[in-house]
């Protein structure tokens, strides 16, 4: 009787599987996609299908060229495509820029297809595919779109009636830079910000749908709750410091900050991407604090509404450094606690500088 030789252990958990994990992310994204379709109908359906065709298509082609088996079955390209489509500005097909609607559709489709191709090829396949990439592919594609075609899109949609011509983020910026505090909650009431009547990207408009997704990801342990909770809590905390030093602002300001500019969406669906985040618990906490802090800093001193995406990509770059073998540890050692405290203090200082 002959038997096969196998290295121990001889069991594998039936609950863990890459495809299942990715499929669960797809499920968590469904409410967000549903809200986007509800508000923007064909516009979002176009954006989504263009993203899926471009990103999945180019992954397939890249694998063919590298003579590798297709990796579409692991659903990671689908996840990238969905996330990418949800980060697109809702004024993707704005006819006011081109004059007529059909040109706007054609140009918008080309922009999405090209950025999607960039996302999957440069963002993922060049590094060798799933698990090897340094940057979040969807985030990279979205930043590519900003840099290459930024002037061709707007953050407003004709599908929604707005009270203000400025986005909440622009108002935050104004209130910060000009010292004249705009009462944002007068123009965008918090409920609108929460359920979706606000300018921005397809996916960020309904915070409610994103929170559903976040709960799903955390309950089924698909995303690390440490990243989501730490990033949101520290982002709120830095804003709280700022609000406390600025008597003109009410605490509503913190909620406005949290509910706009893709903070929720970015934290829940992009910062938690395991491939591009550190692998240890203390590393992930530090990573989340730094993402929150950098986003806060960009909003305080910079002009990009994509601050969240920049923060994520910057931190993606530092994830391997956080995982460097000389200091990586699964324990919260004294070194890690000190590092985390120092990082927090730096951003508190930045918040205080902002109030001066």
């Amino acid at each position: 009787m002959n038997f096969k030789i196998q290295a121990s252990p001889h069991l594998r958990t039936p609950n863990a599987d890459v495809s299942k994990m990715m499929l669960n992310v797809v499920i968590a994204l469904v409410p967000v996609v549903a809200v986007a379709i509800f508000y923007f109908r064909l516009n979002y359906i176009f954006a989504l299908s263009t993203s899926v065709v471009s990103i999945c298509g180019f992954e397939y082609i890249a694998n063919k060229l590298m003579k590798k088996e297709s990796t579409l079955k692991d659903y990671s390209a689908l996840v990238t495509a969905m996330i990418f489509s949800l980060t697109l500005p809702i004024g993707m097909y704005d006819k006011s820029i081109y004059g007529d609607q059909s040109t706007a559709y054609i140009v918008g489709t080309i922009i999405i297809a090209v950025s999607g191709a960039f996302a999957i090829i440069v963002g993922k396949m060049i590094f060798g595919g799933l698990g090897r990439n340094i940057f979040n592919p969807a985030g990279l594609g979205r930043i590519f779109l900003l840099i290459s075609f930024g002037s061709l899109v707007t953050f407003f949609s004709k599908d929604i009636v707005y009270l203000s011509s400025a986005t909440p983020l622009q108002m935050i910026k104004e209130s910060i830079s000009e010292g004249s505090v705009v009462n944002i909650s007068e123009q965008y009431n918090l409920f609108d910000l929460f359920v979706g009547r606000k300018p921005g990207a397809f996916g960020e408009i309904s915070s409610l749908a994103i929170i559903f997704g976040a709960l799903y990801l955390m309950i089924y342990k698909i995303a690390d709750w440490r990243i989501i909770i730490t990033a949101l809590a520290s982002f709120a905390f830095f804003n709280l410091i700022y609000v406390l030093r600025t008597p003109e602002l009410s605490t509503d300001f913190i909620l406005v900050q949290l509910l706009t500019g893709g903070v929720l969406f970015g934290v829940v669906f992009m910062a938690t991407d395991p491939v591009t985040s550190p692998v240890t618990a203390p590393g992930r906490v530090l990573y989340a604090i730094l993402i929150a802090g950098i986003t806060f800093t960009i909003r305080m001193f910079g002009a990009y509404p994509e601050g969240m995406l920049f923060a994520i990509l910057i931190m993606n770059m530092f994830a391997p450094a956080i995982d460097y073998y000389k200091w990586a540890s699964v324990r919260y050692t004294l070194k890690w606690i000190i590092t985390i405290i120092i990082a927090t203090l730096i951003f508190i200082a930045i918040a205080l500088i902002g109030t001066m």
Binding site: K4, H10, T13, D74, D224, P274, T280, Y325, K326
Partner: protein
Amino acid sequence: MIQKIKKIILDDRIPKIGDYNFEEFLDPKKVYFPITTNRAAKGELYVKEGEYVYLGQVIGLRDGGFFQQNIHSTVSGKFVGVEKKFFRDGKKVEFAVVENDFKENYSPTVTDLTDEEIAKLSVEELIKRVEDNSVVGLGGGAFPTSVKLKIDKNIDTVILNGVECEPYLVSDYILMLKYAKEIVAGLALSLKIYDAKNGYISVKNKNKELIDALIEAVNASNIRNITIKGVKDYYPQGYEKDVIYSTIGKKIAVSEMPANYGIMVINSTTAKAVYDAVRYNLPILTREFLVSGLCINQPKIMEVKIGTHVPEIIEKAGGYNNEYHERVLIIGGPMMGKSLALDDVVVTKAVSTILVMPKLSEPEKPCVRCGTCNYSCPSKLTPVLISEAVKAKNSEAVAKLNLQDCILCGLCSYVCTSKIPLTDIMSKGKKML
């Protein structure tokens, strides 16, 4: 699944503790005893071909310095020669073969001491009996117990490890249930040898009937410093440091020796062997042997003689079924057990289980760096980073990431989202240290 995983999910088709009957298979035609082992490279026999040997008689010596051990026969009959068979580590070694005459003629060296006579034995005499009868750690390590008993450290706590945390294993459980009295007595002897104050027997708290049996055995004896401790059921609860922590609440670093803290952990089955060696001057004669797994027709636990040829046991368990095309034969538990290519193996002291399972078939996928291995590692290591370092042949990083603390428990492979054989990579990495 990004979380700490400590539970092994069991397959319902494989029988659990309550599903087995106590069975015996004590009359093999031939028994085999290894003359050399992985630790003892040389060995000699005291008997000539055709010579009659008694049950319990010393028939030879395995010579390995520190690991030197007498070879005993576990049946009476005729020594018929030497044959090559597989040792439990998968290496082919020479075995002395004894043909059973089924008369169970005990060697004249066998004694049957009363409790009073045992109480009169000095510590040196006790250790000598353990040493002469080649008692070894029966948890799988097969480390000579006499060496452990002679340790030059102040031991105040002895813990009997009866946790048996590997999934599907039941040998220790059955043995403890059958011989609760002997196990308590064996622990009492160890306490006497160490001059230790506290004895503990740790078993899973879900095995209520076993806890009751052990408490009854303690109450029936006149020993008052032994506590029965129910511990949680997780993997690897049976790992020495985990047993210590759940039994007496003391945390000991992976790299440290419990003996330095006055603690000694002994496998519960070994305690019975110590008792038998002292009372009867006999070696370990039998083991509760489990044959199980999806590829076995009638999974069974049987009391078998040490030296029994495994194919005979498998035949008693209804043989192999043909439902699976590719099968693996595992000596030991499914998490740390070794897979062998042939079933031409012999039951030696530290072998208590044969599992025959279908080969794992799920393909390996790229690591998505989910970190579940880091969260689950009982030694607080970072398997994902270590595997990267091993693949990059960076021995400095491997050492810095403390791979020496790895106990090869198998959890990292078990929990891996991408089905990467991490534990295998860990054991390869250990060679770089």
